[in-house]
Symmetry: C2
Subunit: 416 residues, 2 copies
Amino acid sequence: MSTPPHSDLPPGSAIIGQSGGPTAVINQSLVGVIEGLRDGLHKSGTVKQVLGMRHGVRGLTKETGDGIIDLTDLPQDRLDRLAKTPSACLGSTRDKPDAAYCQRILEACKKHDIRYFFYIGGNDSSDTCRIVSEMAASTKFDLRCFHVPKTIDNDLVANDHCPGYPSAARFVAMAFMADALDNFSLPGIKINVVMGRHAGFLTAAAALARRESASTDGPHLIYLPEVPFDMGRFAGEVESVYSKLGRCHIAVSEGITNSAGQEIGATLIQSGQRDAHGNVQLSGSGALGDSLAEFLKKKLMPAGGKAPRVRADTFGYIQRCWPYSSAVDATEARQVGRHAAGLAMKGERAASVTIERVSGRDHAYAARFNHVPLATVAGKTRKLPAEFMSGTSNVSQAFLDYCQPLVGELPHVERL
Amino acid sequence: MSTPPHSDLPPGSAIIGQSGGPTAVINQSLVGVIEGLRDGLHKSGTVKQVLGMRHGVRGLTKETGDGIIDLTDLPQDRLDRLAKTPSACLGSTRDKPDAAYCQRILEACKKHDIRYFFYIGGNDSSDTCRIVSEMAASTKFDLRCFHVPKTIDNDLVANDHCPGYPSAARFVAMAFMADALDNFSLPGIKINVVMGRHAGFLTAAAALARRESASTDGPHLIYLPEVPFDMGRFAGEVESVYSKLGRCHIAVSEGITNSAGQEIGATLIQSGQRDAHGNVQLSGSGALGDSLAEFLKKKLMPAGGKAPRVRADTFGYIQRCWPYSSAVDATEARQVGRHAAGLAMKGERAASVTIERVSGRDHAYAARFNHVPLATVAGKTRKLPAEFMSGTSNVSQAFLDYCQPLVGELPHVERL
């Protein structure tokens, strides 16, 4: 922040948008960008005003102009409260702009004298940044474009992890911890469906709920989108745990696919609404969990006997915006925003901010912020790496070591 | 605790069981009973040992005897950690004993020299207490039977509220607060299904999530089991909010029924598993929410247009055992346990402990503990009173005034 602004900066307004699924800490990043622009705003005068897009690029491109709000003079106490408020306070959007849409974005930037464009979002948002940046360059309009990472799916390449993921992972770990105790108390087979369409990072976080080993503690089985899901093997693995313990606690990613690459969940949704990205709706429905539960009830029914007690819960949207965030996540999400603004004020023209993990003292967790070209991140999906998986239905110790410092301490539970 | 034990107390063992759906604070009550028996155990010697039932009366009546564990010598630090652990650490049961089963309970008490029987649970558990107590009396076996209240449904008569409810209500209020912000961020119609089969107290708690008025803040509509649910009226009310705000945030009790008294959810579950109480499974399934969402998508589809974005989440079991309890709830759940043990040590023969609300200084919230005959509570269901409801789809200010002190402060959220 104390570096003097670069001398070649174009004077003009900065605008910030939030895109895609909200997170518990996406407003931290918004506030971070605002804070990072202060020197440019108040000292050098390079930044004329700080604007916000209402519902992302949808607001920016609104003809009426009421999709843009002025964030320049927000007092610090309000910023601090905004930062702690979950979900996107500017409003978000699922719009995935094509070339014509990006052209309208560029026109809106010209019209409103915007020279600094910050977009907080996932890989689609970094792609929007990239297209707009390239279009601006080709028309010789000096627009600086920065992508600020955000996704509970944790699926951005070039990042150790993404802001939003640690808080969602904390929620998932806590929910599994609580639900495993419930499952011990009233035994049966319990399936919990976790968000994360293409990458299993969030579902994998369920493993942090185990207090002892996976052989006794739930979740006993973890099904990730990276491992082809086979219904027969699933039934066999569940039966094996259930016959030993009298209960079985299962984490299932909403994005599990069969060996043909078809999403198990998508084939089960009745109306199959698709979003602007062509994705079939997986969240906001209990269909996958319910269908797996019905399958197990029938499959594990003993001859002439009673079906086991099988229940399914789908954690749903509260995973991504639960008000109590991970402390590491809250801090880092603020910092990536500041870092993006800092890059802009130092003269960078376009970048995607990244988080790198570094070894702290005594191997304690520490992170630093860096950046890569937009094209490095744009539109790509990072999967759970092989070393984080174990067998067909578990995660490795390496994953636990990776995830635990992000999530922070979990409540201590005691047993009889 | 300091009252000397009653002189006519039969010497023998005490046993404690947990029954029905777990809660975040049911272990507080267990620890409260253990603490309340200490004088009887260590000073007067009336209480020979303190035992626990593994999975309630199912453990007590196990022929092998391994369904009973010794809790006599648990150190205080372990008790304190157990108290803070959600879900029933002894294990719970859904068994609803009939006369023959109660006879076996009584035989087990005689066999294990049990003279003090504590059962932590809802109205079915109080009924088990009542039957066992009456059977013991009729056979001249001096067995003292105490029901310690517990239910997230808050549906016990003679109580201002029940331990377990404030923590579950806190979870529901927080979840609605977070999800309303999510719904503002990515607008659409969102249904959240909340536990509570017969009484709407838990669903009603969603209203605490509103920061301003119900006309802008979610949840905009609240559907309780006490108000007959009409699909046509539902669609009309949703459309009215949605056409005004472009979004609609809805709380639905899992127990909503039509005017003929049929549970809407029960008619939608595929396999219709029933528990020992003859209840169709409503929890652990997303069927009700999904069906209502499908209904709205079709009903609100404009001619030739695109169906609105409709999503449904079903909060599921984490409502009842989320690790962060309400502070009031944690304290009171411990106290009802101690109070039950205190009644036993003062010579009461049978009772159900109750919570009464009293006006504290400056009208601040305060509660006191009392007791009523088991038959007063046994098997009865308290509904949300009329003065807590408003119209067909909202709660009253009187309900908010009732519920807020139980739930405690919620996180402050800020808006642009």
